[in-house]
């Protein structure tokens, strides 16, 4: 992929790419530590106290349990969102009447925060895993559907005409031209949606489930002065979010996806 001109002027250096973020992180942690110390607060934790909180959770075996619980809910909620969102978006992008009928409805549902859905989710699903999975599904299905839809709508007409000249139609036109051409934008949508899905895990686990990183934060608030655990939950959510993003980025390396980037 092309870099913007200003970035391209500076030669890439592997060493810098490792050292710079490390330095920024160190600076951030030092500033955090000094600010807490200077404020004299014994409520907000220092980075060291947070590390202690993480170690305590790991010793009790809770850290693994909670990470697994959150990943489980996000995997199912997000997985179902992909299964529903991508086909829905493709259909809406291709068939004008379907778009005309459903798009306004989707645009109304889309801006509603998953937090607003919490009461409804409890009324419908109770407080088992289904309710948070439903919330994560809701949060991620719309970005996926909308990006798939606009991917088909914005496809270059030249691809279509060329394909039709070669006599492609129906299923093979879809499989060999439309889908590959739309794929990069769909993947971008999926990447954003995975970020959103992971983002709402805290809100989703506010419901009375008794495991998960979001639950860890809510539970630590109930536990009195355990803000080290609150921040530990935040740190874990951040780190796992980074890993998830790196993982989805790998999807962009597949040949089929690179084909679609060719036009840029």
């Amino acid at each position: 992929m092309n870099h913007s001109p200003s970035l391209a002027r500076i030669p890439r250096s592997r060493k810098l790419e490792v050292v710079l973020p490390f330095l920024v992180g160190l600076l951030f942690l030092t500033a955090w530590h000094l600010t807490v110390k200077a404020s004299g607060s014994d409520i907000f934790p220092t980075p060291y106290a947070v590390l202690g909180g993480l170690a305590e959770l790991a010793r009790q075996g809770l850290l693994l349990k909670y990470i697994v619980a959150s990943l489980y809910r996000v995997s199912w909620g997000f997985g179902m969102a992909v299964l529903v969102g991508v086909p829905l978006g493709l259909v809406l992008g291709w068939f004008r009447p379907a778009f005309a009928a459903l798009n306004p409805f989707i645009q109304i549902l889309r801006p509603i925060s998953p937090i607003a859905w919490i009461p409804v989710a409890i009324l419908w699903f109770g407080v088992k895993d289904t309710a948070p999975i439903f919330l994560i599904f809701l949060a991620s299905v719309f970005p996926i559907a909308v990006s798939s839809m606009s991917a088909v709508q914005n496809m270059q007409q030249v691809y279509l005409r060329a394909a039709q000249n070669f006599g492609l139609e129906g299923g093979s036109l879809f499989r060999r031209v439309i889908l590959p051409a739309a794929l990069p934008q769909i993947i971008t949508g999926i990447r954003i949606a995975l970020g959103v899905a992971w983002l709402v895990v805290v809100a989703a686990e506010m419901i009375a489930v008794n495991s998960g990183l979001g639950y860890l934060i809510i539970d630590a608030r109930n536990a009195g002065k355990r803000y080290d655990l609150v921040v530990a939950g935040m740190v874990m959510i951040g780190l796992i979010g980074l890993l998830l993003d790196l993982l989805v980025r790998r999807l962009e390396r597949f040949d089929e996806v690179r084909w679609g980037y060719g036009q840029r």
Binding site: L71, Y72, L123, W124, I207, N210, D219, K225, Y227
Partner: protein, 348 residues
């Protein structure tokens, strides 16, 4: 590509589901153990506050004496979620500890809810920052006070105390805040005063920045914040089970009030096994002083509720469209009160 992604995705879903089932849902426990757990289907909602303490105490002692508990304590973090579960899934959770005015308000709105027993007496306080200039209730004029919610009885104590000195609720600024967030709000002086059930008030005292302006037990003796409420369908269809639950609450309440030792034991096993709090906190609020919150005299009495209803109507919280008979079913109380305290000692 699509086949390999599908394969990876399926493998991941299978792996994470299996791990979740094993680590969090006890899927792979011995079948016999699981069956006994399944028998405890009947859920009772509670929050990690001392007003709801008898719920975990009953469960813990039952499991440690008779083998299995006969109900499933379901812990929530806030009243809205607890109320939604009670409204939406009364079959899964037919009984719950809930704020008394909230139960009455639900009845006014047509919900088939009955108060069958009290959860506690007293056990609430209004805390101010130790360095604040607030020393008597009159000093609250113009100050911001955090309460747990619209239907919290703590709001009524404020109303009642202000009324005594010729002030009204409009002389103070009331904000709603979940009790777990209150200590930090007082510490950072985001609000001038906080009031809710324990242990969140005791926590500010224990950590050295909170000062008691009033204890509920001193200004409104026998103060009731939370009650045990049951769905009418469950009273109709499962009377025996509800009676057993009320008996259990009564017996464990008496057990807690029997001695300081029992209070400290309860603090230990409830904090560790149910509330996930530092036991130091519950030990403090259950023992200093020991009558900060009490668990005897739990029959719902007409005079208490009519006072709550009158104050709530004056304060504009309740409409006053229902009567004591509509929202209270005290037919379980007599048998429960006749029960002896639970016979249980923690093994040392």
């Amino acid at each position: 590509m699509s086949r390999s992604i599908l394969l990876w995705a399926s493998a991941w879903l299978a792996l994470i589901t299996g791990l979740h089932g094993g680590l969090n849902l006890d899927w792979f426990r011995e079948r016999a153990e699981r069956q006994s757990a399944d028998a405890r289907e009947f859920g009772v909602g509670f929050l990690p506050v001392t007003c709801h303490l008898t719920c975990p105490v009953t469960d813990f002692i039952n499991r440690n004496t008779g083998g299995n508990g006969f109900f499933q304590p379901m812990r929530f973090s806030g009243f809205p979620e607890l109320k939604e579960m009670f409204l939406g899934r009364p079959k899964d959770m037919p009984a719950s500890f809930i704020l008394a005015p909230m139960a009455i308000a639900l009845r006014e709105q047509g919900v088939k809810i009955k108060i069958v027993y009290l959860g506690h007496r007293d056990g609430s306080a209004l805390m101010v920052h130790k360095d604040s200039g607030i020393h008597v209730p009159a000093d609250l004029r113009g100050r911001t006070i955090a309460v747990p919610g619209r239907y919290a009885n703590q709001r009524l104590i404020i109303y009642r105390e202000l009324k005594k000195i010729g002030m009204t609720l409009s002389d103070v600024k009331i904000v709603e805040m979940p009790p777990p967030d209150m200590p930090a709000a007082l510490f950072s002086r985001a609000v001038d005063a906080i009031t809710s059930g324990e242990p969140f008030m005791g926590q500010t005292e224990l950590d050295g920045y909170g000062r008691v302006l009033w204890q509920a037990k001193d200004v409104w003796p026998g103060f009731i914040s939370c009650v045990l409420a049951v769905h009418e369908d469950a009273i109709r269809d499962h009377r025996a089970e509800i009676q057993a639950l009320v008996n259990g609450i009564a017996r464990s309440g008496k057990w807690v009030d029997q001695s300081l030792e029992h209070r400290l034991d309860a603090a230990e096993f409830v904090a560790k096994g149910y509330y996930n709090q530092d036991p130091r906190l519950l030990r403090f609020v259950l023992s200093k002083p020991p009558d900060r919150v009490t668990y005897s005299r739990l029959t719902p009495l007409r005079a208490d509720f009519e006072e709550i209803q009158r104050l709530a109507r004056e304060a504009g919280i309740l409409a006053g469209t229902v009567n004591f008979e509509d929202y209270v079913d005290d037919s379980f109380a007599a048998e429960a009160n006749a029960q002896p305290a639970l016979n249980f000692e923690v093994k040392r």
